[in-house]
């Protein structure tokens, strides 16, 4: 049934308001990143300003952001790959053999406050001389990514019919062969979803890197704070830094929208 015209008008107006409220602040941030600090302080220059690349020059050259971008990329990439390697077989097993209690243990990682793990981690990893290194950062980000992979992939394996695997067994594959040659190739969309979500969550993670990284290994969310001084804030630099951190992830999400949405809503409708 077609909605009534009055409702359609209301819907357009309401959704336009929603979209504006969600996007305007982000656009404002990006606009400010192209302004000089003088222009940021002048309300008359809200929209009419002469754009400058000065803030980005500051962020990328003086503030060493190229290094932090590489750090963030490396940590997120390594944590995602490692989580997929550990998580895919685990999710498969938990789905096929209905290991709900084991799954619950892994999902506890999503529930527990990170701070409660950081003190013991800090102690253990500083004894191992790992604090400040990439190893411990990747491990801590895996702690975020692995439960996501298991959660998303369990749902995905649940949806694949077991008969496909049995057909492989009849054709002489071993169980592990069937997993590798039948189930994994069929799961590529699920793996993409899990991988993308892991990457985003690792990229955005702040608390673990705040404690476990040092000046050379810090990731972008920690590096943002370089622009917040005790006395004053370099707003132009800060907005450029915030844009550098968050714009890439928004652009990626734009292109792989479908996967991001299915990952974020995974398992929600099973009841």
């Amino acid at each position: 049934m077609k909605p009534r015209p009055a409702y359609r008008v209301f819907r357009v107006v309401a959704l336009a308001f929603v979209v504006l409220s969600l996007l305007a602040p982000l656009l404002w941030m990006i606009a400010a990143s192209f302004k000089t600090n003088v222009d940021i302080y002048d309300p008359g220059k809200a929209l009419a300003f002469s754009p400058t690349m000065g803030n980005y020059a500051k962020v990328l050259q003086q503030a060493n952001y190229v290094e932090f971008i590489v750090n963030s990329l490396w940590v997120a990439f390594a944590a995602t790959v490692a989580s997929l390697i550990l998580g895919l077989p685990a999710a498969y097993s938990m789905s096929r053999f209905n290991m709900r209690k084991s799954a619950l243990v892994v999902l506890m990682a999503r529930v527990i406050p990170g701070v409660s793990l950081l003190v013991p981690w800090y102690y253990v990893f500083s004894n191992l001389k790992m604090v400040g290194g990439f190893g411990v950062l990747i491990l801590s980000h895996m702690f975020v990514a692995l439960p996501l992979v298991v959660y998303i992939m369990m749902g995905y394996f649940d949806s694949l019919p077991e008969e496909l695997e049995e057909a492989g067994l009849v054709d002489g594959l071993t169980h592990i062969g069937a997993f590798r040659r039948i189930m994994l190739p069929l799961s590529v969309p699920g793996i993409a979803t899990a991988g993308i979500l892991s990457f985003i969550f690792s990229w955005n993670n702040f608390m673990f890197a705040l404690v476990l990284s040092d000046a050379d290994t810090k990731t972008l969310p920690v590096a943002i704070f370089d622009f917040v001084g005790y006395a004053s804030i370099d707003w132009g630099g800060l907005m450029a830094a915030a844009t550098v951190v968050t714009l890439p992830i928004m652009v990626i999400a734009l292109f792989v929208q479908k996967y991001v949405v299915s990952g974020l809503t995974a398992g929600a409708t099973k009841g």
Partner: protein
């Protein structure tokens, strides 16, 4: 324990080496073990240690000697009306108010997006943006917008004749402002989950109600909402847990200790400060254990409701 679904495997070829057969027969645990070990090592053992630390007077350095003090920390924390209880209050206020707005707004937006229309794809893209944005960057962005002197928020208020507000800088306005930021960033999450739930509903109950002459509100209240209840509970559960643990935007907007008057100091921020600003490991572990229990309690209450709703 888990039930094992036995698939009839054909007998392996006779030339299969023994170890391959062993690996295949034990694949259930071999597959699950690495991930389980990883999580257990990084979760169970540290959690147990936090539990132990909460019974000691550990402070200063993680390597320093500490003494077992029994439940003294718990008694101290329970009688701490200066930092602990206000932090509990803020945590609960933040979570309940933010969740309330996120569920109501999220539901409204999901209903608007339910039926296909031209341009829906673009609205969905817009909805996704806050959700994937880095929370710390989001905090910084709102810090500029809510700046009392140069921020856009007071500009806009000025246009409609309302005087400037202190927003994040005010002792009483800081917490509501951070709640607003949380609502801005996470309402889309609720919308996406509910939208997934809505699209999975069948049209028949709707049609039947329509034929029976039910109004739009009646159809929502008595048909859509009950059917959507399981999905709504999942959304509340996922969002609620994350809201309780909010850290990034609070730290980004107010810094250490939740501001100079601890205006936005929630349990997570308080525990972080105790651990890493004051090195009070014993007390911070106590706060964390209590915090963890609150989270588990909230989850338990919600899942109990969910099971009841299913019956």
């Amino acid at each position: 324990m888990a039930t094992i679904t036995t698939t009839k495997a054909p007998p392996s070829a006779p030339d299969t080496p023994g170890w391959v057969r062993w690996v295949n027969d034990h694949r259930k645990w071999l597959f699950a073990a690495p991930a389980m070990t990883f999580v257990a090592a990084l979760l169970v053992f540290p959690l147990a240690w936090t539990g132990y630390l909460s019974l000691t007077d550990a402070e200063g350095s993680v390597r320093a000697e500490s003494e077992f003090v029994g439940v003294q920390n718990y008694l101290d924390v329970f009688s701490d009306t200066a930092r602990f209880w206000p932090a509990v209050g803020r945590t609960v206020t933040f979570t309940v108010v933010a969740l309330l707005f996120e569920v109501v707004l999220g539901m409204a937006i999901a209903l608007l997006l339910w039926r296909p229309f031209k341009g829906q794809r673009w609205v969905r893209v817009a909805i996704l943006m806050p959700l994937v944005a880095t929370p710390v960057a989001v905090g910084m962005m709102w810090r500029l917008i809510f700046d009392p002197n140069i921020g856009m928020a007071n500009q806009i208020l000025g246009w409609v004749g309302i005087g400037p507000q202190p927003w994040l800088a005010g002792q009483h306005t800081a917490l509501p402002t951070t709640i607003f930021i949380d609502v801005w960033q996470w309402t889309p999450m609720v919308t996406l989950i509910l939208l997934a739930g809505l699209t999975s509903l069948s049209d028949e109950p709707q049609e039947a109600a329509r034929i029976d002459g039910a109004t739009t509100w009646q159809r929502f209240r008595h048909v859509t909402l009950p059917l959507l209840m399981p999905t709504l509970t999942v959304a509340i559960l996922l969002r609620g847990i994350d809201a309780l643990k909010t850290f990034d935007i609070l730290y980004a907007t107010k810094g250490r200790g939740g501001g100079s008057f601890h205006e936005v100091e929630t349990l997570n921020v308080y525990a972080y400060g105790l651990s890493f600003d004051y090195n009070e490991y014993g007390v911070s572990s106590t706060v964390l254990i209590l915090f963890f229990l609150i989270i588990i309690g909230a989850m338990w209450a919600l899942t109990a409701r969910r099971k009841e709703a299913k019956r």
